[in-house]
């Protein structure tokens, strides 16, 4: 078993599609909150296979999309400081800030380096002792443990020129906020890799409070269709529950070791989400004990709040209120080669996923 082809099997896809058509009677709205799911759903043409009773919405699941303009501007301001090397994952580089992007700053001479892992950023710090290495950390529960390990390693190895700019975010507060803001959702397709780390139990309060279903899903077509089937079945039976489709990696507890590392290094803070606004307790900041590695404390840059680009509907798109193709700029002015908003930058952004698989 290679864990990919088996879950792209056409017979299984056909069986699930038929089963969904057989049982679906009620109209339901299902939202995915992981960019990986957004991409997979568009790429495999799943919406076209489903009955009209089922509406699929894309939510705030792409980390670079939900990172606000002000945070991007902060990264740019940090990259402009003398003696700084700004390291980050490739996804962030092309996101437009209010006047430029990290990509443009790099072309103008700022030392900005893409890394595949936080350990590469740490290595950069070791090989450049005279410079300050800042890692701009974005991402949800999946990505945070890697940042925690980097901080723990920097402490252990006494690396004093390594700093983290934590822009890490937590998924459940955003899922709750959407419902609070009045977005009508019957069930969530739960983010598979976020939950691999954090454990499915983190959705229990959400389900109790909002009478909503969550099915934690894998990323292949068979996984997603089975998750849709499970959500439809619960809706038809009048149940609101937590179920795991992606059992080959997801457990109720998650990866305890990874969670411990995160817990040691980070504490919850309020955080700004593009489109959703300020969500209490939805972000992660370094604990006081790790002040020495906190880019927010060491480098003071002044950045003004920045409005979204004119005409861009990213805010609505990220809340499932508008489809990308309802934006007037979509495909005409705004394309992957010339993105106006963050949702067109990443392959997992709803706008780019819609654009590539129209």
């Amino acid at each position: 078993m290679k864990y990919i082809d088996e879950f792209r099997n056409k017979d299984l896809v056909d069986k699930l599609v038929k089963a969904i058509h057989d049982i679906s009677r009620r109209k339901i709205r299902i939202m995915e909150v992981c960019g990986g799911h957004t991409l997979a759903i568009r790429k495999s043409g799943i919406p076209g296979l489903l009955p009209e009773t089922i509406e699929l919405l894309s939510g705030p699941g792409c980390p670079v999309c939900v990172t606000g303009r002000r945070a991007i501007d902060t990264c740019i301001a940090l990259a402009r400081l003398p003696d700084v090397i700004l390291t980050t994952y490739g996804d962030l580089i092309r996101v437009p800030g209010s006047v430029s992007s990290l990509d443009e700053e790099k072309a103008l001479g700022a030392d900005i380096r893409m890394v595949h892992s936080t350990l590469d950023a740490l290595e950069t710090a070791k090989t450049n002792p005279g410079r300050n290495i800042i890692f701009a950390g974005i991402g949800f529960e999946t990505t945070t443990p890697a940042s925690a390990v980097a901080i723990l390693e920097a402490e252990k190895q006494n690396i004093s020129n390594f700093y983290l700019l934590s822009m890490h975010k937590l998924m459940p507060p955003a899922m709750a906020t959407l419902i609070e803001q009045g977005v009508k959702i019957d069930g969530y397709i739960g983010p598979g890799h976020v939950t691999t780390v954090a454990g499915a139990n983190m959705y229990v309060p959400l389900i109790d409070q909002y009478a909503i279903s969550v099915v934690v899903s894998g990323f292949e077509p068979v996984d997603i269709l089975q998750s849709v089937y499970m959500l439809v079945k619960m809706a038809e039976e009048g149940r609101h529950e937590l179920e795991i489709q992606y059992k080959r990696v997801v457990t109720r507890e998650g990866n305890v070791k990874a969670k411990e590392a995160v817990e040691r290094v980070f504490e919850h803070c309020d955080d700004e989400w593009r489109g959703l606004g300020l969500i209490p307790g939805s972000g992660l900041a370094l604990r006081k004990e790790y002040n020495a590695f906190d880019a927010d404390i060491h480098f003071k840059v002044d950045v003004d709040p920045a409005p979204e680009p004119k005409g861009c509907l990213c805010g609505e798109v990220l809340r499932g209120m508008k489809r990308p193709d309802e934006c007037k700029l979509f495909g005409r002015v705004c394309t992957p080669a010339n993105p106006i908003g963050a949702c067109m930058v990443s392959g997992e952004g709803a706008c780019q996923a819609y654009y590539n698989y129209r």
């Binding site: 078993m1 290679k2 864990y3 990919i4 088996e6 056409k10 299984l12 896809v13 056909d14 069986k15 699930l16 599609v17 038929k18 089963a19 058509h21 057989d22 960019g35 990986g36 991409l39 043409g45 076209g48 296979l49 699941g61 792409c62 980390p63 670079v64 994952y89 996804d91 595949h116 892992s117 936080t118 350990l119 590469d120 974005i138 991402g139 949800f140 999946t142 990505t143 443990p145 890697a146 390990v149 983010p191 890799h193 976020v194 691999t196 780390v197 990323f219 068979v222 089975q226 089937y229 489709q245 059992k247 080959r248 990696v249 990866n255 070791k257 990874a258 590392a261 990443s346 997992e348």
Partner: protein, 81 residues
């Protein structure tokens, strides 16, 4: 960017390992996962192995889908693409 890839562990060296991803060889840290053995399939994300993949659960998932058809209405035509 939360997407992670299934990889087969080829060699373990302390708390890091080499793994094969569809033929390509990558390095991965094992700092976030205990009890990994050569031959295990793991999920790798940004250079870290995050979880072992359970073959037993994968087979069970497929079995559940295969059994769906027997409950359904066999006379209806398939709706696949």
């Amino acid at each position: 960017m939360c997407l992670s890839i299934p990889a087969k562990i080829l060699e373990i060296d302390g708390d890091s390992a080499t793994a094969s991803v569809g033929g390509a060889v990558v390095r991965t840290s094992l700092q976030l996962l205990d009890d990994v053995q050569v031959g295990d399939y793991v999920l790798i994300h940004t250079g870290f192995a995050l979880q072992k993949i359970s073959e037993e659960e994968a087979l069970e998932t497929i079995r559940i889908i295969e059994e769906l058809q027997q409950d359904g209405d066999a006379s209806a035509s398939g709706q696949g693409q």
